[in-house]
Symmetry: C2
């Protein structure tokens, strides 16, 4: 019994996606040729070959119509976060999450480039895009906040989670914008990976707990990177002894 | 001759600010009582006791009218960046810059709280506010990019500058939002200083040059904080020798 139901659902979902993309293609074409202001919802629906009320079953407004995939992508991003292994660094998880967004743009470069040009010219479309992106950012902030060490209630976690989420989204947007300006040429996913590496080398990771945030010398297991911190106005032998003590704890 | 001219200019500028604030107060009152959609520019001008064309000499649109101080504040922020001492850490400069924005909100708590409530209810006002904030963010990105070590052309500077600027603006917005939700109670400038301390302890500073970004052991002068980084899968004596070499360069 289960198989036909699932198949019907899959068919329904693929039909839904097709209608949304047809409407988006029609909207994009009309906005580009007639202009955004002059285009009506009725014309978009007619060009896509559906009724006006079908349009409103899929989009709340004219400016939403050129972003048909954000809802589905948000769901995929949520799934990445939910399915993340418990031992994964939460920032890694968020980076994997936003890669789903990049893949959505990378899946249709010419469509993404055409839409980017439009959003730069029409403030209403630009603002719609900003609103969509802020949904991912809020999702990441909530996720990072939930992944903080539960014993570290210092009150600053909401701030740090928001800053970390914003850094990931800003890096993503930077890479995406550069790719769109270059007409969607090149491997944008590889560019995103590079950007994450650079940003994390420069700014570090989300601190997982109060202990890690304190910056005290800490021992780490072999193979990791060791960081020691000391004030250098102490005499050299004293600094060296402190470092050696920290290193000895590796044993 | 210079003195009377300057005085006339100051008078003109203070008269200009008064008109802008009168218009803003009128707009805020009308939006709150009649509703944003139902309020016209003519009504705002009439309530403030000026002509319609005077309104348009100060604001391009109805939604701009409740933000009378962003233009002046942007100028003050630019002045902070321009006048910054050459040896100041650029992130410190940007933090001092955005404090000007916080001071603008803190100067009139009840007005700021009333406007915050309105922006949460009216998308057009919310979007106008986002656009205003993005002007500061772009200014900080350009500034940080200009302050990078001129010998470090690795191509990643625009990314790092944008992420750093976004982190500062996100921290500011977080603190501002928390203060507005608490009805503008408490010392928001002190809260902002605390936020900057927390964020920088967690994520570090903007790397000023390629050398600092490489993570190699580096020597610093007495009194500063020394940071050494080494891979711990090297034998302990070797790690210690590397650290000692770095420390020796202090002398």
């Amino acid at each position: 019994m289960a198989r036909p139901v699932k198949s019907a659902r899959t068919q329904q979902s693929s039909q839904r996606r097709k209608v949304r993309r047809d409407l988006a293609a029609a909207a994009l074409e009309l906005f580009a040729t007639k202009g955004y202001e002059a285009t009506t919802v009725d014309e978009i629906a007619a060009t896509a070959g559906v009724a006006r009320r079908t349009f409103f079953r899929h989009f709340r407004s004219k400016e939403e119509a050129i972003f048909p995939d954000h809802d589905d992508t948000l769901e995929r991003v949520e799934a990445v976060l939910l399915d993340a292994p418990a031992q994964e660094n939460p920032i890694d998880t968020v980076c994997r999450g936003i890669k789903e967004v990049m893949r959505m743009y990378a899946a249709s470069p010419s469509l993404s480039v055409a839409r980017y040009r439009l959003t730069r010219e029409v403030p209403a479309l630009r603002e719609r895009e900003i609103a969509s992106v802020s949904r991912y950012e809020r999702l990441f902030t909530r996720y990072l906040l939930g992944r903080y060490d539960e014993h570290s209630h210092l009150g600053d976690e909401p701030l740090l989670a928001e800053v970390a989420a914003s850094a990931v989204v800003t890096a993503h947007n930077h890479v995406l914008r550069r790719w769109l300006r270059r007409d969607g040429q090149g491997d944008v996913e590889a560019a995103l990976d590079h950007a994450f590496t650079i940003v994390r080398r420069a700014f570090g990771d989300l601190p997982a707990s109060a202990g890690q945030r304190a910056g005290a010398p800490r021992a780490v297991t072999d193979g990791e990177v060791l960081v020691t911190v000391a004030r250098t106005d102490a005499p050299l032998p004293e600094v060296m002894r402190a470092i050696e003590r920290a290193l000895d704890q590796r044993g």
